[in-house]
């Protein structure tokens, strides 16, 4: 069997690659893609912990935690979709106003 640590290392690699992309890329759409990678790493973590660590007994403090990992991963899907939609709408609006999508050029509030 593949041990849990392997999946978690993969998720960590994904997260750090996404972190590098979010910090180092210029194009705003590239930054959004890197954020998607980070969210996927989080999802992988959640599902790994659900698979390996969720106890099978059902109620703890009256709350069934059998499906917690999958439910959280599903909510991360929802949030990622909402964030991507609004983020891309913002990028398109910025492109219309300034004719550029380079993130560094949105600096009119800079002191």
């Amino acid at each position: 069997m593949v041990p849990q640590t392997a999946y978690l290392i993969i998720a960590a690699i994904l997260f750090c690659v996404g972190l590098y992309g979010a910090l180092a890329r210029r194009n705003a759409v590239s930054i959004l893609m890197a954020v998607e990678l980070m969210l996927n790493a989080v999802n992988l973590n959640l599902v790994t912990f659900w698979r390996f660590n969720t106890p099978n007994n059902d109620s703890t403090n009256g709350l069934k935690i059998g499906m917690a990992g999958q439910a959280f991963a599903a909510f991360v899907f929802v949030i990622a979709a909402a964030e991507t939609a609004v983020g891309l709408a913002l990028i398109i609006a910025m492109y219309r106003a300034r004719q550029t999508v380079v993130a560094e050029s949105a600096d009119s509030l800079r002191g």
Partner: protein, 176 residues
């Protein structure tokens, strides 16, 4: 279970290669359209890993939502915001700080995982829980509408999606 082991490891290895290779190519490739396609490859690898982790419903939803909708949205945005075909710099001036930070973060996480996975009472299990693979999609659906479980986040998520939909339309609409 020697015969099953190597199949699982092989699948895991291939999927790891796809996922990590795709992710690296996303942040390294200069052509932004190509990096969107590498994102597609990487997300497909993650969907495969979900299948290995006994979550087939999440894998199908990953393909449907991420690959079938979000990546298409990203590609649309790439197409709508291109001005020059020329190659500009794809990384900004502080890229080495970014690389340093991400490498340090990875080392920290790897150290924590190595510590938690070893020792007399490891926090991280080695073998997956055997009976967990009986959890079906029906249980997941029941968990989402059970008032004692996740019905409230479910409703809030639907409100969030409605708000995001309206917000995206309003922001991206041409002021006519």
């Amino acid at each position: 279970m020697q015969t099953i082991d190597w199949v699982q490891w092989l699948a895991f290895g291939i999927l790891t290669l796809i996922t990590v290779g795709g992710a690296l190519a996303v942040v390294i490739d200069r052509n932004i359209f190509h990096s969107a396609l590498w994102l597609l490859v990487s997300l497909f690898g993650v969907a495969g890993l979900f299948v290995l982790l006994n979550a087939p419903f999440l894998a199908a939803v990953q393909v449907l939502v991420y690959m079938g909708a979000i990546v298409i949205l990203i590609i649309f945005a790439v197409m709508l915001t291109r001005r020059l075909m020329g190659i500009t710099e794809s990384v900004n001036s502080q890229w080495w700080i970014g690389a340093l930070v991400s490498i340090v973060a990875f080392l920290v996480i790897a150290l924590v995982l190595a510590q938690a996975g070893s020792g007399s009472a490891p926090l991280l299990a080695r073998d997956p829980i055997a009976t967990l693979s009986n959890r079906t999609v029906a249980d997941f659906g029941a968990a989402l509408v059970d008032p004692a479980q996740y019905a409230l986040p479910f409703e809030l998520a639907s409100l969030l999606l409605t708000g995001a939909m309206i917000g995206a339309i309003v922001i991206a609409r041409e002021d006519a």
